[in-house]
Symmetry: C2
DNA sequence: TGTAACTGTGGACCATACTCCACAGTCAAG
DNA sequence: CTTGACTGTGGAGTATGGTCCACAGTTACA
């Protein structure tokens, strides 16, 4: 699949796709066509990579972090132990984000309920949710 | 509390605090002191606000979005219905982030388990986790 | 009353993540 | 073999989220 089709299916612009490629987030193949500046050929795994990028980014990871993340797996020249180490650290960070997210969600739900039904009750206070870790 | 103490307890720099204040994310009071450029006085609610900013930002919200979010509550001159509407929309977005986060976490856990114990089993594929919504 | 430690302001500067553009080469259909 | 739609490259520009700095006014304490 050429860049335009890839951009269409992923919802990215062609410029963004090229940008991600320059940063090493995507690794299209070249298939000879295109002469001196060979055309990039994107595969299904690149679509999945784009999805991982989208989600990771929406969770506040920088492109650099995402690149580091995906680079590790791409070239498997690390020991299994080291990969487990890296991924475990990433997991911890994801889990702490999940916790914070749950705090926010509980707070929002309580606040909406308060607005809807019993505004004379005490207003939910973010601090009370935050303190529960 | 003056800006330096506030910066210390929130872990922000003074410049960042001022930046947030300019963007309307924080609303310190002025207490007369400081002459022509009165000193900003921060209260406990500003510490909580800083925490909300930190979390929201780590979840991928822009400062603009956060400002819109907090501005709505600050000046309560919206109808209850409108506030419920806005907060419900924000809740939906938080919930969808939470779902994506859970997908990532499941995937990472499966991947770590695979690396640790049975690398001869098929490698976990992100797509399988993503497709379950 | 001096002076060190604070304060705000304005403006320059930086990294990140795009976005736009001109240009030139390549392909594929007719 | 022309022509329109594609391609890559390089470079400039933009928005966001800070960060740094010089400057000048203010405060608090000795």
């Amino acid at each position: 699949m050429l860049i335009s089709e890839f951009a269409r299916v992923t919802g990215l612009t062609r410029d963004t796709v090229r940008f991600y490629t320059r940063l090493g987030l995507l690794h299209p193949k070249k298939n000879g066509k295109g002469g001196r500046h060979p055309y990039s050929i994107f595969a299904d795994k690149d679509i999945q990579a784009a999805e991982v990028i989208r989600i990771s980014q929406s969770l506040g990871m920088s492109l650099k972090e995402i690149a580091a993340f995906t680079e590790e797996r791409r070239k498997g020249r690390l020991t299994r132990e080291r990969r487990v180490e890296i991924m475990s650290a990433q997991l911890v960070s994801l889990e702490s984000k999940a916790t914070e997210l749950e705090v926010m969600i509980s707070y929002m739900r309580a606040k909406i309920h308060w607005l809807k039904w019993n505004e004379q009750a005490p207003e939910p206070d973010f601090e009370n949710y935050a303190r529960l870790n």
